[in-house]
Subunit: 443 residues, 2 copies
């Protein structure tokens, strides 16, 4: 967005600025506000129409939200908060320091304070922490006409009115009905007759990853959340689930690169947290790689006899690591998307064995020719190439087995990715290499 807010403010051209901001979406305005210092942030934020302000506030970073919360008066802050959807308010409160939370709870009515405290207690990444309370509830005795009347009367500040929830006197969920069905049905139809009783719902403690799976599998727009007594306590909407999907993917990317998962944006993360996120795995893997060094040490006599053997160690290690990483990535991704199960383990191993032979043979052949052309003895070329073939096959099999075993042990398969596979395959490659060398070259 090429709007120079500071120019407008310096020239005190507030009307001009208002007009420039008016056609923008809240998320775009939030992006502009992100760059402002606290004084200008407050000036521009106060300029926004009430309906827009809530959307903009939701999209601001916690840093800017905190600034606004501290600079606004109690009454003003109260008005902003009142306009937020309940789930956005909870997300915001979760990120605020204690003094801001206190300031807000102090001014909230008793009932709301209780509800907020209850929601803040749901475990992170659970259905409870994802859901919102702004939904439309109906009774099954209602006619479609009454139901639409009710939607009209109560729907203004609901997060979605496209799915309505039919509850009994104890607030137990009995059925769901889409606004589409209500709008398309004759006015005197009874809601109970056309509501869907084969609905899918989740419990408050369900994990967000499962919830995302459910949305994807059934192409849902929203999903009701019930408590232990089957009472409807909230709904989850697709926009929040899309964020969960990206978050879960990010977590997998991080685990697969030997990083401790973190939800914080890179640019907002300091040097020390970034280092902490990386050091543990690097240390573990470094120590593991020491064993690989130990293998070389054990065979140092062979190496001193035929020093040329050393030249091919990097190529063997890298190719083995890459071959294993390819396979483990495909398997991890297949498991994450539900396209692969542990029961497929034998067909996967058999497939990878054949792929390994095919790919390994091509690489080995290419390599053999290259080494001979470079003037090394055929026996050395043969040793390296046979090692390469065996390494690639082993890499493919290990890369497929380990993620599946992890899944079987209820661990996250994503940790069985390139870094660990590489370390294991390196060791196996070198053991194969030196044993073959001893045998073929007779050293």
């Amino acid at each position: 967005m090429e709007i120079n807010v500071l120019d407008y403010i310096q020239n005190r051209n507030f009307n001009g600025l208002k007009q420039r901001l008016a056609p923008l979406q809240p998320v775009d305005i939030a992006e502009i506000l992100e760059e402002l210092d606290s004084r200008n942030l407050l000036i521009v934020f106060r300029m926004l129409p009430k309906e827009t302000a809530a959307g903009v506030f939701t999209h601001l970073s916690s840093k800017q939200q905190e600034v606004l919360s501290l600079l606004s008066g109690d009454e003003e802050l109260r008005q902003i908060i009142d306009e937020l959807f309940f789930d956005d308010m909870i997300d915001y409160l979760e990120e605020m320091p204690a003094n801001v939370v206190k300031k807000i709870l102090k001014n909230a009515p008793e009932a709301e304070r209780k509800l907020i405290n209850q929601f803040l207690k749901y475990p992170e990444d659970s259905a409870g922490s994802l859901m919102t309370i702004e939904f439309v509830d109906l009774k099954k005795q209602m006619t479609v006409k009454d139901a639409l009347e009710h939607v009209r009367y109560t729907g203004t500040n609901k997060e979605t009115i496209y799915t309505c929830y039919v509850i009994d006197q104890f607030r137990r969920l009995e059925g769901i009905i889409s606004l589409k069905d209500l709008v398309l049905a004759p006015a005197n139809t009874i809601v109970g007759d056309i509501m869907d009783t084969n609905f899918i719902s989740v419990h408050t403690h369900e994990d967000q990853e499962e919830i995302a799976e459910t949305f994807k599998r059934y192409d849902l727009l929203s999903l009701p959340v019930v408590d232990m007594e089957s009472r409807l306590v909230g709904i989850i909407t697709i926009d929040d689930v899309v964020d969960v999907i990206e978050q879960e993917n990010t977590e997998d990317f991080q685990k697969m690169a030997a990083l401790q998962p973190s939800e914080e944006d890179y640019l907002d993360t300091g040097v020390f947290p970034l280092a902490r996120q990386r050091i543990i795995w690097l240390l573990v893997l470094m120590i593991s790689a020491t064993f690989t060094g130990g293998i070389i040490q054990k065979f140092q006599n062979s190496l001193q006899t035929v020093v040329a053997l050393t030249f091919f160690i990097p190529m063997l290690m890298d190719t083995g690591g890459n071959a294993g990483a390819q396979t483990s990535t495909l398997i991890i991704r297949g498991l994450a998307l539900g396209k692969l199960e542990i029961r497929n383990i034998f067909s996967v191993i058999w497939k990878e064995f054949r792929v390994g032979i095919l790919v390994g043979a091509i690489l080995a052949l290419f390599n053999f020719v290259r080494i001979v052309i470079q003037g090394f003895p055929v026996s050395v070329a043969a040793t390296v190439s046979i090692t390469l073939l065996i390494t690639v096959i082993l890499a493919k099999i290990i890369g497929s087995i380990l993620p599946l075993i992890a899944k079987g042990l209820k661990l996250d398969p994503a940790i069985m990715a390139s870094p660990i596979i590489t370390t294991i395959v390196d060791a196996l490659a070198l053991i194969t290499y030196f044993n073959l060398a001893t045998w073929i070259l007779g050293i």
Copy 2:
């Protein structure tokens, strides 16, 4: 789903089976049908109620869709197809062999045949290939009452009625209005007065990755697609975009593991296609790793003097590779999610430089102590540890620069991941190592 369909069929208990299937969602029924041979598939499919059948058909694999298409009579197939949403039909036709497509086009009315052919021509991964034509269009002169009447009249077979599109006489898109706004507005309001003219739309040739970004950024449920003359030609709905998001993530996972991207499921892919997906990058990386071998060859005299130097090569290579992979993954992911831009390059490098010093120093210290304890000379321990520190810093900087440069060159940053970074860092690590060794150990 533990339903033994074969038992029901063998006992000719068709009513029992119908009752067992009735409460299931289409995707769950499709999963059950996936396991059946062609004869039983047809038996069970014919048993399904018409409304359910279309949903089940959409969720079947192309293999089973093809079986049904070939076994069904012309009229029967026509009826299945008529129930499909237009975008699902196009997805299905895209996967079918020529004889099935012919069979369907032969029986389609002229207008539909033209439309199908036009849609089949949109580039894969474009807005055109994602969109559907089942949307509700309104005129801005309508009152809310007329509009709701129109929705009721035409809405039954629309993919979504939750966003309606206001078009002029030339079908140019003038505004959008949500069903929520229509339902909540007084009956005599004019649509043109309450429609949103600040809407977001895309062109038919827009790439699906951009479209997914737009949905995520603006929390959309649907998005209108217009042609070059701003005429509304279709809409894209969130359920298809969720699939695109997962597809784009899969593509990134694959590229980052040196695989040619493929959309096919692992279990459905044969050994040869799998090998083809992997061999090119393995070859390229293997040849690159040869240079690393060349570095060792150049310094073979040093190695023969101090053979202990060889023992630490795997550890240096692995740690460098892992350190680089961590950084490149964070940067690639940040770029993919739009949280990082090329303009951040200098702050990223500066941050990674400091993280590299911190992490590298810890690893180097740990390593130094270990090597000395193992009984190697302090000079060797120092050489290895200083190399490790420098390698980690270099790995962090290279891991951050290369994806950003790729982005700047309009290449996909995902190719600058672990495999390439590892190869480059390996070479740099060894050059550092041997030069340091020559200097410190005086060889």
